[in-house]
Symmetry: C2
Subunit: 481 residues, 2 copies
């Protein structure tokens, strides 16, 4: 096989071509990992609702699970019990996490061109995770609408004492075209960095247009970060509709807002990653990690972010255990804590394993929702890609045959391990509508199709087993310069 390009590669054809080599009755060498076993794993996944039942338990019985909350702790307990009951060897790995609590969130248009005497308008918004509070009675200030960081710089002289609104639209066309992450990255910079950028030019608060592609007046929350050298100012996301409204009014004349946000940042809390091992038969110290994150934002049950991912990971390993399969290497479920606002779980795992990174053979994280599984994203060396053909061949009956090589991070929690050279993987799923719901109140169980979750379990179980069973691990990946 020719060396694949460094760019994304789809191996539909390779998977199909590879299949006959493993047919019974040929004289070729037996494959290193028995394709019949991979097929058995896939088929068992497609007839199991264990993962969906866990997802139902997590979302229906607990609800939102923001780090530091009693709900997050209940999720740790619930998931640990489920993995224990599945016969896996469970460990709680301590992690320090932030404990941020949303308070009131209100915004009112108190002046604008053409306002009828005495009237105001309520806007819909949600405080961004990590934001400081306004004074209890709120602040009233004129609004400066900008569309980019450059635009803010161009209007820096007008920002002092104002509430800056970054009115940057999420590019749903891009997202609908299979580039949801690119669309997210474009817009999310304002969520993460907007407050400090606005504070740097003297603003008293920062608002963004919600990072999401639907038009149902939903505010999208998410983490923000303060830079150390500027004052911390309160920050929130308006719905797209309200950002557009403020933009239209501001184009006609001065607009003033009254803004009240009363979040609290409490002392960091003690929490846990949930680890559950299916020990390897002869290389138990070598680990293939299969993961998703257990925490969610606080506006909804976090069914697609990331209930589906974490329960698919759990389901993949429960399935292997229930089939009595044991690979050469250990397969480890990790239900990460605190992906959303601090990566405390990810840091704790890395710290606990930093002296034995060579034993971390491969890391898989599912954190792109519960859309139709399409294949596998692999952050591996170009030469490694072809070695994955048996995985996509096994997934052929469910159509999850795309195999895309990507440089760099494919999951937030596994990023430190990837940076240390560990090959990283994620199931590829349809994300065209992911950012309709992401970080909103509408991220609820009904958004997950049981059949797609079964297919995601199939994808992760086949991939994890294959990676744990290969005679030689895949090559380590050089970090990008």
């Amino acid at each position: 096989m020719t060396r694949p390009s460094r760019a994304a590669v789809l191996l539909f054809a390779a998977a199909l071509v590879a299949a006959p080599a493993w047919s019974a009755g040929t004289e070729q060498a037996a494959p290193a990992v028995d394709p019949a076993v991979l097929a058995r794993i896939r088929d068992a996944a497609l007839s199991s609702d264990w993962a969906y039942q866990r997802l139902s338990d997590l979302t229906d019985k607990i609800g939102p699970r923001l780090s530091g909350s009693p709900q997050a702790e209940a999720a740790v307990t619930q998931v640990a019990a489920a993995l224990q009951a599945a016969g896996l060897s469970v460990t709680l790995q301590p992690a320090k996490v932030p404990h941020w609590v949303r308070g009131e969130e209100q915004a009112e248009l108190v002046d604008y061109p053409g306002r009828p005497e005495g009237l105001t308008q309520q806007l819909r918004l949600t405080t961004l995770g990590g934001s400081v509070a306004t004074p209890k009675k709120g602040i009233t200030a004129p609004v400066l609408v900008v569309h980019s960081f450059d635009d803010l710089k161009a209007h820096a002289a007008e920002a002092k004492g104002r509430i800056v609104l970054f009115d940057k639209a999420f590019d749903q066309d891009l997202a609908s075209n299979g580039q949801a992450m690119a669309a997210y990255i474009q817009a999310v910079a304002y969520r993460v960095q907007g407050a400090s950028a606005a504070a740097r030019v003297g603003a008293v608060a920062a608002l963004i247009r919600s990072v999401g592609g639907a038009d149902f007046r939903l505010p999208h929350t998410g983490v923000m970060r303060y830079e150390d050298d500027v004052p911390k100012i309160p920050t929130a996301a308006l719905t797209a509709e309200d950002a557009m409204l403020v933009g239209r009014l501001a184009a006609q004349g001065p607009v003033s807002l009254h803004l009240t946000l009363t979040p609290q940042t409490l002392p960091d809390a003690d929490s846990y990653n949930v680890l559950a091992d299916l020990p390897g038969s002869d290389k138990p110290d070598e680990v293939v990690l299969v993961s998703g994150h257990l925490d969610s934002w606080d506006l909804a049950q976090g069914a697609i972010d990331d209930g589906a991912g974490v329960t698919a990971a759990m389901g993949a390993v429960q399935l292997l255990k229930s089939l009595g399969l044991q690979a050469h290497r250990t397969i480890r479920v990790v239900a990460w804590m605190n992906e959303e606002n601090g990566s405390g779980g990810s840091k704790a795992y890395f710290a606990a394993n930093k002296d034995k990174l060579a034993q971390q053979i491969a890391v898989i994280e599912s954190d792109s929702g519960a859309g139709k599984p399409l294949g596998v994203i692999a952050s591996v060396t170009p030469d490694s890609l072809a070695k994955l053909a048996p995985v996509t061949a096994a997934l052929q009956p469910i159509g999850a045959t795309a195999l895309e090589r990507r440089d760099g991070e494919v999951g937030a929690d596994i990023a430190p391990l990837q940076e240390a050279g560990v090959p990283g993987f994620a199931p590829m799923v349809d994300t065209r509508e992911y950012f309709f719901y992401h970080h909103t109140a509408a991220d609820t169980l009904d958004k997950v199709k049981p059949e797609y979750l079964r297919r995601q379990v199939a994808t992760m179980a086949v991939l994890a087993y294959y990676l744990a069973q290969m005679p030689e691990p895949l090559a380590r990946v050089q970090a990008e310069k």
Copy 2:
């Protein structure tokens, strides 16, 4: 032309066939209404943004306009001024309207099967218009989930002391298939009658599943009515997602809710319909009414319900005036007050005209949103239908050629006039997504495409001018037995 069936009739073909009869140079009689004038009206509408500008003013400058609110009064003033400035003869017609004010609305799952010790879950809901309040501290009660009125009867013995949830799904497939109103009627019975039905069997509160077809966790408000012979109990709409959650949990065991609703019903308020006449040249006492409603629910700006309808009606008559056209009969804009919760405006108009109903020649109301205009819905006698062919012929270039005869009401405000025999009309628009947004916070200006609003103005202006210019009025319609 053969007599059309009483069923819905699409006159695409008739419109096309009729056209040649009006071509210049034939020896046939000139048409009663000059098709060139209808074409001129249409084309002028397609190049005018007057209606969209009025819609922007109404939604962006005022916001929600529930009857009795200061915003509704500001809307009366704004719209009257705009119609006056357009050169029409404006009258404010007094109407008594309810004054209901939404208060707090909270629901919390306080017990359910599998609930982790000490945890509860917040639900999303909105109080239904007209509901009484719970005590200030709320009520806590077990939930009885039913799926229909029959189901409630079957479980009547279990309802005493409970909160009844009517978990009836809106049939979006039906709505997507061009039967949005049928889908609405199926589900809305529970919104309107649910509270009294539940009270009749001893329930302490009633919840419904929101009447709407999208999945973005939006509660849909709307009016409800109490029957006189049972206690008034508080009532609200859960989001579809939350209704499903409660349903799933209740299927596993007892569920209890804490419900707090604090609406207030204040004394009836004085308000107004805004009437604006373009007087007829020789039959000024005969009136063709072109209308939409000015009030909206209080959760959003009411851009599609019914800002688009009322501003399209205004735009239709402003357009005729700006073109210097005067029909035989008077064309009257009515911006109705209080369509949403009491029909105070509709009743006031009928009362003021009940002794001169013969002068009400035809009534048009647009109240199905701002979707793509598709043609005209006509509640007329079967024989009248063919006489409308010139209207759809004129609308041929924008594709609004469907002509559907319907028995009975085609608009809530014009229903009393229709019942008295006046031919009734509505623009037919694409309503497949109307109930995604109807009565929710997401009914905002961005949902209205300016081009579709222009086409709706074209439809209403051509229809209104034609009806006002026909030599003989259309036949009166017998009320259905």
